[in-house]
Symmetry: C2
Subunit: 160 residues, 2 copies
DNA sequence: GCCATTTATCTTGACGTCAAGATATGCCGT
DNA sequence: ACGGCATATCTTGACGTCAAGATAAATGGC
């Protein structure tokens, strides 16, 4: 009987006409993702980053040398609006972790490049972040992890 | 090969020392919850509510007559800060969907009560919201839904 | 070559959220 | 009764996000 079960019991009492199966799955998913986001945020904060800024730095890092992508490339990989991405880049630029360099091939565009400090920051944070993700999922057996991943993949395929 | 797979391939190329199993689960969960939140928001918007305001109205509704709870009760059921709850109640009060009534038993406190308009709004939205949740999960068989729910319950139990 | 359209990024104003602290009331031991 | 601690709510200031629109450069049809 977890927190979501209590909600479902209330609904079944008050509105027995409403089916609660989907409610349970959606409710657990929402609460879980909130908890996970907070856990992730906490570890990255210890490395001086927010999960938002880490997202951008990590996207640049995993794109490989020379660690440069346009704001449009970053946008297509991160599920945020263009205004949000501009703001994220502004913050990272102020912190000296990325810099905007001109794109010689297209002057509408610009390239966002990891600085030395930015590369150091993301390398340091990435290890801790991955270790934290492993900690958070360590309660599951290998089989359960595979099962969960498969179900999430199928669910996600509804949208992407 | 979904969006998350592409990210994992990049990491395995750039940082083969990092294990990607947990990254995959966490990444899919995050993207999925973002998609689901947007879908939910859209349906509630058609009923003049945000998911935030619906959360409060639904909590009051499922608590049963007389549909009154203190801000503290609402807080303990919704994973937001006290400042956020004050703001949500302010908005709902301005919209005429709830009202603050004095709590005769404890004058530090106050009771948040559904108005007639608030009750009508939540009853209308709840049906559409549940139907939407069922739509979003309809790609799964009964067995898959049970499996997913069980895994999410176990994962959530890590935190609650 | 020129103008209309498309593409890429940035700007603006509004919203929801949070952490930290302020305020006001209740409670309890003496 | 009273002082001090606990509890309940609200306030403040800062952030991150979004939708809509502004700006500027590239492209394509004529």
């Amino acid at each position: 009987m977890d927190h979501v079960d209590k909600i479902l019991v209330q609904w079944r009492t008050e509105r027995p006409d409403l089916d609660t199966e989907a409610m349970g799955i959606m409710g657990r998913l929402k609460r879980l993702s909130t908890h996970l986001a907070r856990e992730v945020e906490q570890v990255l904060q210890q490395h001086g980053l927010s999960s938002s800024s880490f997202d951008v730095l990590a996207t640049l890092r995993r794109s490989g040398t020379p660690y440069r992508l346009s704001p449009g490339d970053l946008l297509s990989m991160t599920m945020v609006s263009s205004g949000t991405m501009t703001n994220r880049i502004d913050q990272l630029e102020k912190a000296g972790l990325v810099e905007r360099v001109v794109n010689p091939d297209d002057r509408r565009s610009v390239l966002i490049a990891l600085t030395g400090a930015g590369l150091a920051a993301v390398e340091g944070a990435a290890g801790a972040h991955v270790a934290n993700q492993q900690r958070l999922t360590q309660g599951f057996s290998a089989e359960e992890k595979a099962q969960l991943d498969a179900l999430l993949r199928k669910f996600l395929a509804t949208f992407e």
